[in-house]
Structure formats: C-alpha cells, structure tokens
Symmetry: C2
C-alpha cells in the first residue's frame, strides 16, 4: 500500500454512465448534458464534498463542477459537452472537516453548549485556509478566522455564516482526496450523428430514360426530388469499378448476360478499386461536383465502405499476402458452406501483414474524406475484426471528428452492441422485423431507455436493397405508410431505400424471401418517380414535421403509452425543455380501421389533468380537444394510418379573454 | 497497439460473477461450485473454443476447464473451490479454425461437394497439431493427418471423426487467443463462515448466584446449557479491563454507583487493554481453558473486536499520537453532537502515524488467534476506514484463512455492502426491522437472489444487547418464537442474545426506545435459565432441524411462495442435489390464528404435480398429504406459530405394494 492510501477514507463506486467498467466511451452530441451520478461515502459521520471533473481531451486541466447529494449516498452533477472530439470525466471527493465542524457546531449552539473550544478548532481550520486563499477571499477568510479566535456569541454566529462555508469550500485543502480510479470517456459528435433522414438510391438507375446507365450528373438532376421530400442524407451504394470475374447477373444469377452491370458491392476491376470511380458513373471530378451540389440542396452525401474485393480488384495481384491461399494455389473466396461466393474475396485479417492492410484500408476512408465525404455506411462490419474498427474509427475521428459511421451489422445482439461501443456512430438494427405493438415497445424501449442508449445510435430502416420485409410484401400501400411513419417518428435517424420505397415496390424474389424480385443490386432500374400513388408527399410532410419539432430529434425521450387495442401503438416524445410534446398513434393493421382508448400520464407530460388540452394532428391539421388521461382514437389505414399530434398544454377558456379580467 | 493485438479477434465481456469490475472477490465455502458465464464472440462466422482458467493463489499455473456455449453468445463453465484461501479465475478463448473447418466440411460432404482441396487444408492443420502432441496422442494425430492427406471418401469420413475433434482440441494451437483482461477473485472460507447458530452471553452474568461477578469458570458451567440448545458459536462481548473514568452506570447513567461494573465496550484500564483479560473474569489461562472446553461441547468461541478506547486505556498515555487533541490540551472523545461520549476515545485514523496504529491493531487480532480464537465480531466497523479493514482482514486471513469476521455494521446499505466486499465474512443487517411478509420477502430476496449474495454473508439476529425490536416488545412470547424461527430458517447463520431471548425479555428503557430496561450492558444480571416458559426447547429443536437438513445450511437457495393471507409468510429451500426440500410457513401475527392457501411451484421444486406428496412438520411431527400446488394452512401463535415441513416427493399408493405387481 502506498503511504498516502491509508488515509484516503472516501469510497467512490457505482458511477454512471459507465460502459463496461469504463472500457468504452458514451456518446453525446455537442451541446448535450451528461448527468453523472456516483455512490460516494466514507466511514463514520464526517461530511463529504464531491466534485465532477471533466475536460476535453485537448485541454490540459480538469474543469470542476460541484456534485450534490441525492439520497442513499448517491451524488449527482452534470456537465455540458461543447466541442466535438473526446471528453473525459471522473469524480473527486474528500472528507470535508470544515463542513462537518460547521454542521456539528450548529447542533451544539442550538443545544446551548459551551463552544469555546470548538471555535478554536474552527479558527485553526479557517487560518489554514487563509494561507491558501488569494485576492479578496484572502482578506475575508482572515477576518473570519479572527472573529472565530475571539469567540463568544459573535464568534459562534459568524462561524455558521453561509459566506464562510462558501469561502472554505472554494479554498478547501482536500487532504487525502479520493479520485475515482477510472477516467470515463464521452465521444462528442455533430448533430447529424443523431438526427437525420436518409435516402438511399442507386446512381446508375437515375438515367433520364430506360436502358441508359445513370451518371453522377443524372444524380445531380435527382437532387431536387430528394430534397423536396425533406431528406438530410443521400446515401449511395459503392461507386467503384465492378469486378468482371464471377460477376452476378440479374436476380443473383451465376450466368450473367454480357451487358449485366454486376453488383456494386463486388468492388474492383482493371479500372481500379476503392479509390476509383466506376467509369460509367463519371469522373472523380464529377463526384466532387455532386458532393457540392448536394450540399446546396441541404443534402449530405454518404458513401458505402465495403471491405471485400472482387477477384479483379488490383489488391488481389498487388497484395496477395492480404488474402488466404488455398492448397491448389487459388485465392480463398467467401463462403457460407455449402454456399460459395466466388465473386468475393475476403481480406485475411489474420495475415502477418495486417498492419499494412489496416493502413491501406484507413487510407481509403481518408481518400474519400479528402473528396468531401463525412458520412460512411459500413457494409457488414461484423465480418471484420473488432480491433480493426476500433482503431480505424478512432484514428479517423481524431483527425476528422465530424466523421459519422453507420454500421450495417445485421447480426447477433452482442456483436451489434460491441460495434457501437467501439466507435460506430449509428447502427442498423432489428427494426425491419419488429411489427407488433409489443415487439416495437420492447425493442425500442431497450434501445432508448436502457444503458444501450448511451452507446448505440439508432437508425431505423423499414427497407434496404437486401430487405423487403414480409409486412411490406403483404400490407400494400398502407403498410408502407405505417412503417415509414414508425421509422420517422420512433427514431431521430431513419432511412429508406428509394424510389423502391415511395413507389411501394413489394414483389419478393420468391414467397418467404426478403430479396426483391429483379433486385436493383444486379440490374439498372428505371423508376417512374412521378407516379400519382407515390408516397413522396407524405414523406415530405413527415420530414418537415421532424424538422419543426425538436421532440422528434432526440432518442432517449421516447415513452410508450397504453392503448386498449393492441393494433394501435402510441408513444410520445418531448423536447428537452418540455415545450414541444409530440404524441404519435399508428394503426399497425394495414387492412382494417382500428379504434380504441389511449391513456396518457398527463402529469409526467407536463399537462394539467384538470384542464382540457389540444391534440393538433400535424398530418391532417385536425385539432381535437381532449379532457383527462383517457381519450378515443380511430385510424383508417386506407386514408392516413397515423396521427402525429402536437399536444398543447391548455386551450383557451373565458379566463383568457379581456372581458374576464 | 501491440503487434499481437491486431489479430486477437475474440471478444470476452459480461463475465459473471464479477463484483465492481473485478475490484472485489466473490465468496465461497470450500467444496462450493463457482458457475462462470461470459459473453464470448468474434467477427464473422468462425467457430470458437473457450476455457475457464482457475488456480489457487498458491498454485503456479492455471487449471483449464472447457466452457460450453449457451445461447446468444453466452458461454458457461464451472469450477469447484477445494481449499481455503484465495482462488483466481478468468476466461480464455480463441478462433478455432479446426472446429470451423470440421463444421463446414460436414456441410460440404452433405451437399456432395468435391472436398479434396478442403481435406488438404485440414491435413495441414492436423500435421501442425501432430508436432505439438505427445505420447499416444502424437501417433493418433499423425495417423489422422496421413488419412486426410490421402483424401477420398475415407479421408472425408475420418476428418469428421469425433476422436479427431477431441485430439485437435487437446492440442489446439490457440493462435492469438484472447484472455479476459481481469483475473477475478474468490475468497474461500470454511463451512462455519456460512452455516452456524450463534449465542451471545455476558460472562459476568453467569455467576451461580445473584450479586457475584461471573467468571470464565462460570461460563464453562453454562456450556452444557448452550450446547443443549444446539448452538455452534458462543460469542462473548469484550472481555478486557473496563475503563473507570467517565464510566457509565446502570441504564447508561453518567452518575455511576461505586460498584457499577461499566460497559464491556469501554475498553482499557490500568490492568491493561485489548490484549488483557478483565481480572474479575479470570486469567488468560482461564480463557484458553474456556476455548478448549467450549470446543469439547461443539461450540466455537467468538470474541468482540471494538477498536475504541476508554480514557484509561494504556494506549492513551503510551500513544497520544493515535488520538486527536483538542485546543485545550484534552483528548477528543466520541461525539454525535450535541451528544458527548466522554467514556470513549476514538482512534484518529488520519494520524500521520497511521501505519504504526494499523500494525498494533492487527497485533491485537493476532494475539487472540494465538489464544485459539478464530471468529471475531467487529463492533462498528463502519466508523473506521475501509482501507484499514481491507488490509487487516486480508493480512490476517493470509496467515489464518479460517478466520471469520462478522461486521456489526448497522448503517447505510452501500456502506454495509462495501464492508462485505472488502473482506468481512458476514454482516449484521436490517433483519431486526423487517417484520411484514412483504418486507421480509423483498429484503431477503435482495440478500440471497441478487449479486449481493456473491459477497454479503448474512447473519440474522432478532435481538442484540442494543436492539430490542418493537415487534418483540409488544408481541409477547409468540413474537419471540416467530422471530426466532424466521432467523433460524431464513438464514444459514443467525444468532440470539441470551438468555434475554429465550426468556422473552421485552421491557424497553422507555416507550419508542429499542434499548433494554436495566440493560446488561451496564449491569450484571442473574438470569433464571430454568424458567418453564423459556424457549430453550424450541430453540434446541430448531437447531437440530438445521443440522439435519442441508437445505437450511445454504443461502442462495431461498425462494418465497405465494400465500393468500399476508400474515403468513412461506418460503422453501432445497439442498444442492434437490434431495432435501424444506418448506417453512410462519404466522407473522403474534396475536391471532391465521389461515390461508399456499401456492407452490411444484415442478420447480422437483415434485410431480400429478402425484400427492407428503408435508412432514418437523416441529410437531404431523404429516399432511397434499395434492397439487394449492393447499390450506392454519397457524396458531399461541401453540406453534410455524410449520417447518420436509416435503417428500411421493406417498405410497397401491402401485408400491407387491400385490399390485
């Protein structure tokens, strides 16, 4: 034991938030608060003082914030993270002898005891503080010390002055203070890391007429359309040259036609690899122009990072040491035995040359950051080592803290959570398969109301090019409306793969499959985005509602409410200051009208249970006057399957008019 | 990053049991199992192998036990702690390429694919293992390698042999294995650390007739009585010389009569301190004789450790630096302002001479260990520093792992738990104030069914010399029976302060106080232990039941059951092998007869819900034939307020008799 440890009497434990004993940081957005709690206690009956310490990683010293006791030895303090990057926080506490002394003196004085000796004890403490104090404080502390030393009734009176308590706290000696044995981290991201509506499209399908290969210039012309729907992020599948050997044809056929374009995720050909652009899309210059043009439309471009190679990728010949060899001299292709994916070569992350491989892959991300990209959707991160991602994301964000990484990790829960902990900003998740009220309530509560919310950024996608969920296959247009409204209002971030989504494309490859028939992954499509049955107006309306209502821009504020019909789901979100209350009701049955009574916890929501309040439906502009906790709702999937209400705290009564005064 | 870390692909997290991120050990009794679980996973689809590693701290190397996968990436293994002292355990896991290869090969063979190249890949792995294997295994592995290298149908057949899997597991290369980043501790104690019935008595009250000061020789004569009630531990309040200055008189009076004996907790006088024996009790030689004599009666002696001094304690003059001085030159006495305890000087653990103080206090414990004592009841440990206790208990148990420390920490929950975590074997707790069915169920569930059970040893006391709970004051003899049966059957360890308890002494100092009137702490009592209304026969009977029924000797096995009358509490315990099922029902109402229906989870208890079973009341020897989960019970507090049933799985039917064959 170190000599100083024996007198360190304060214990600090149970600090929250703390992920895996401090192994991983929590996540916040610049401007967010971090409320820190800790169990802090000492032996005996001495009073404690307790500070929250924090600093941006670039700052030299700690900023100190007093923590206040709650009940049961729990203390609480909070900090606000102001800059991007990493913050650290910890807790410091000490036995505060002056605080104990003042507390006890008050009891002695009240019991009319002789306190002359106690005042001398106090005077010594105040004199010691006088030696530490500077400026005006020094004079004040010295004056108090003299009064205490004189003693008497005046000495006792001054000894209990709150001003003295404040002075002594400011100049506390903190002898044998205990600092919590961990420094905990906060990764601070920009607002887009939490709030954003994503739109995925295949650039090659944006040509003005059927049969042509779309280009970046064509995507520029599509920007008006995407922006008119109110999206924030435009995500493109891989834009690199596509491999030719073992190329997949339409509907994933292994016998492609000569003009089949291949899957964009089969990356690399003679024209280049990860740092090259598919020649039919345009040039790197065209791409940079698209980035700028999108920004003018309020859209940020997101690129796909898919770290696997087509057999033609230049790496395969230039760096055979990054791939596994088979005894017959061939390169090991991807497999899920007995299935073989001979169009894909996975990297061998167990290679002895892993450090060179990591460096090269990092340079790929850096290359696209240089082209103006800050958002990356990472394909199948769960098939590459965790240590690699932790290193890559940490290194990239050190230089570029605005970078955002979305994990396309459709895998087992602990693997998904680990990827989030180690650095992925957001993640896909099981939303596509959560359909019933109970499933949605359980899953979204886990994502938003437990420790998971501290590290797992939710991005809700009702469809992707790989996932045409069964609910969409069978529920018709109402199902697409319902799942869209759920995604856009349950999560601050969500996305759709379009135009398949707004055009309600619902034909699966085969019954029981979630693959699209004639999937855009393997062929160029020509979508009629002007169709009158498109959902584009609803989408634009909801995205506008999202931008107007801060309640819909946060994650941890989701609360589900009781409805006596389980076909209707109800949940509310409120803005941090409580001024914006949004209540969403969705009919989960795409076939029939459903109705029921919803019960709201009015007081928790800041509503006076004895006053009527207004439920203003932002989708239809209808306004309902509701009374009390229990109210009737009715939703028809064939008109609008949902209400997105703003609740207004009170409605006008005669008291509000001049004549009543 | 270290060069080897980049290829370490397996993640290990969520290990249980693990207290405060491994800061503290769990507790077990020699012979106990430790079931260890962990979340273990890697990227991609490779198979894993996972080991539980453990060792006694005296052992040089790890013992390895395979862990098996449960669901959702959770793995499980178990070890048995065989020796006293400390064990350590951790988890090791690696990507098992051979296991993946064998799993995949089976799928390829089933799909009738050509596996010739795969067999060459496997052959290379087996050849590498052959180089590592020794003895018979070496030959076997080499033979397998040759068969695989030959290939064909026979090669494929042999490649899938379970024997090959076992050989490859035994000689696994474990490349880039991940070892969990913590080594977790287990403190292993002897059985008495968990199971024991304690009896507290004041030796000075054991004289054969009133007016005399009892002696150790008198206590020897009382041993038959204590042993006849089936107790295991005889705990004595401090046996040291008692201070004279500021001595407290009867009923805590500050004006003692000349012959008042003082409180045994005011330790130290001219005759000596912590290492001396009160002259009126006898000599150190007498004490050692008592220890031996108690042992012959099956009783182990427990001593009190109360680290505070009477003003006459020799330390006060010999080591003034261990006490706090007041500005008037006096020594600081204990206080709880405005109350003053001038008969007690607390040690100043913040002294610069704390190391000498710690060493001296340790030598006190060592001194009594030399006299044959192994069990210590520690008075108010929460008023001395946590670091001191952690050091003291660790040091003492390093030399004497049989030592048991009971914390008399009636304080806030987190402080009590911290003391348990840092080393106290057992602790007093809130049992004296948990009276209703709901209070008992909630509290005992917390103590036995949560992580708390891993470190907090429960010792249940219905009374102590400081605590005459209100329930006992007003409930009469039935209340004493009820609380005794609860303590003795809810906890494997419990204690009573006698003869006050068995004689149902229930007069408080004043209404609303829990102090005894004419407390034995301040005067010598003469108890009539032969009184006909004594509970000694019931106590003896219950302690015998405890010894006969292993179910009552464990802690984690407590389960509460539903009764439709909340005045009746029901709980069961089963032995580790399930062969001993004890069901206890207690009427918590000391005034009226209560009845109701109990509902048992028969299948969880190993009982066939379709067969009748026998409930044998060990208190009355009555036997009930019960059918199904729901049965009627009725308990009269004025006869016996409880059932202690042994449940027997089936009763005889005609099928059991010869004539039915």
């Amino acid at each position: 034991m170190q000599p100083e440890e024996g007198r360190r009497r304060v214990m600090i434990e149970g600090v929250t938030p703390e992920i895996d004993a401090g192994r991983f940081p929590i996540k916040r957005i610049a401007g967010d608060r971090v409320v820190v709690e800790a169990d802090v206690f000492t032996d005996g009956h001495d009073a404690l003082s307790c500070l929250l310490l924090y600093r941006h990683e670039s700052a030299a010293g700690w900023t100190e914030v007093p923590m206040e006791p709650l009940v049961n030895d729990r203390w609480c303090g909070e900090l606000t993270v102001t800059e991007l990057g990493r913050f650290r926080y910890t807790v410091l506490a000490w036995v505060d002898h002056f605080k104990s002394w003042q507390r006890d003196l008050a009891k002695r004085v009240e019991a009319r005891q002789d306190v002359s000796v106690e005042l001398l004890i106090g005077a010594a403490m105040v004199e010691a503080a006088a030696a530490r104090a500077t400026g005006d404080d020094a004079g004040w502390v010295k004056a108090f010390a003299e009064t205490l030393r004189i003693g008497g009734d005046e000495g006792a009176h001054q000894a209990l002055a709150p001003q003295l308590a404040a002075l002594m706290y400011r100049h506390a000696a903190r002898p044998d203070a205990t600092q919590y044995d961990k420094e905990l981290g906060v990764v601070v991201d920009r607002p887009r890391a939490r709030f954003g509506a994503w739109y995925e499209l295949f650039p090659r399908s944006c040509a003005p007429e059927p049969g042509l290969h779309g280009t970046f210039r064509d995507v520029e012309k599509r920007l008006d359309y995407v922006a008119s729907m109110g999206f924030d992020v435009l995500y493109l599948p891989p834009i690199h040259p596509i491999g030719r050997s073992f190329r997949k044809g339409r509907n994933n056929s292994t016998a492609p036609a000569p003009d089949d374009p291949g899957s964009p995720w089969a990356i690399g050909a003679a024209e280049g690899g990860y740092k090259a652009v598919h020649p039919q899309l345009g040039t790197l210059e065209d791409f940079r122009r698209l980035v700028a043009c999108a920004a003018e439309h309020g859209l940020e471009l997101a690129l796909d990072i898919a770290f696997q190679c087509a057999p033609d990728h230049p790496y395969v010949s230039e760096h055979p040491e990054w791939f596994r060899r088979r005894p017959d001299g061939t390169t090991q292709y991807a497999e899920n035995p007995p299935k073989k994916y001979q169009d894909i070569y996975p990297f061998d992350f167990e290679t002895e040359h892993w450090q060179e491989l990591w460096d090269e892959l990092k340079s790929v991300v850096e290359f696209w950051i240089e082209q103006g990209v800050r958002i990356f959707r990472v394909d199948n991160p769960h098939t590459k080592p965790f240590a690699f991602w932790e290193w890559l994301i940490t290194e990239i964000k050190r230089a570029c803290p605005e970078a955002i990484f979305l994990a396309e990790a459709f895998t087992r829960p602990k693997v998904m959570y680990r990827l989030a902990k180690l650095g992925f900003t957001q993640s896909y998740n099981y939303f596509p398969w959560r359909n019933s009220s109970r499933e949605l309530t359980e899953y979204l509560s886990e994502l938003t109301q437990t420790e998971v919310a501290e590290f797992f950024g939710v991005n809700l996608w009702p469809n992707t090019p790989d996932i045409l969920a069964e609910y969409l296959q069978y529920g018709g247009r109402p199902a697409f409306m319902t799942r869209f409204i759920l995604a856009a209002t349950l999560g601050p971030s969500y996305g759709i793969y379009g135009p398949a989504y707004e055009l309600c494309e619902n034909r699966p490859l085969a019954p029981g499959k979630e693959e699209y028939l004639d999937s855009e992954k393997y062929e160029i499509k020509h979508w009629d985005i002007t169709r009158h049955d498109s959902l584009r107006r609803l989408i634009g309306q909801v995205n506008l509602i999202r931008r107007d209502n801060p309640a819909l821009q946060a994650n941890h504020n989701l609360r589900f409410h009781r409805v006596d019909n389980e076909q209707i789901i109800a949940y509310s979100k409120s803005s941090p200051d409580g001024s914006n209350q949004v209540l969403v009701l969705v009919n989960l049955d795409p076939h029939y009208k459903q109705s029921g009574f919803i019960t709201l916890p009015l007081e928790d929501m800041g509503l006076d249970p004895h006053q009527p309040y207004q439920a203003h439906d932002l989708l239809t502009d209808a306004r309902y006057l509701w009374h009390g906790a229990r109210n009737y709702v009715e939703l028809n999937p064939h008109t609008v399957p949902a209400h997105i209400f703003v609740l207004r705290r009170r409605v006008q009564t005669e008291h509000d008019f001049d004549y009543y005064m």
